[in-house]
Symmetry: C2
Subunit: 96 residues, 2 copies
């Protein structure tokens, strides 16, 4: 299934670890604090557990959006700002 992860993390180290966990799971960075990609049910559960372990304080939040194909096709993209320093490859074009 297609999954989006968006996060708001105050601590730089934890934020980097969250980004790393998303990347390691095969998700692609689409904004500074947003990843998307395809995960199976097990991978989604694994990512959820990993992120729950990282978020330790009450100043952080992470939203994980599993999206149906219909909703995914309804996403509206405005702008073309895919920071090349952040996004090593342009796999996003496969998604949006």
């Amino acid at each position: 299934m297609i999954v989006w992860v968006i996060y708001d993390i105050t601590d730089d180290k934890i934020r980097s670890k969250v980004a790393r966990a998303c990347k390691d799971m095969g998700l692609y960075r689409v904004q500074k604090s947003a990843f998307c990609g395809t995960l199976n049910r097990n991978q989604l559960d694994e990512l959820k557990i990993l992120l729950e372990e990282l978020v330790t304080n009450n100043t952080d939040s992470i939203f994980i959006f599993p999206l149906c194909d219909k909703d995914f096709r309804r996403i509206i993209l405005i702008g073309e700002g895919f920071d090349r320093d952040l996004i090593s490859n342009r796999k996003i074009t496969e998604f949006v």
Copy 2:
């Protein structure tokens, strides 16, 4: 319909205007760069046009997610970091 807006805007003034446009449309801030709430079709179109006018350079991106009820119920929230400086009321609790 339930709509999420996530953005990555480099310019402070434009970023503030994007946040203001989301707020004025009745959306609630749930992260520094994420809003959600309920919009009808006309409001969604209006917001889209407003945001398109604001995003003028190729370093910015905004994703608008219209979500079906099923997908909305599948959203996973990790952490409880709703910054009180950012979120004037806790309407988010109605959504997540």
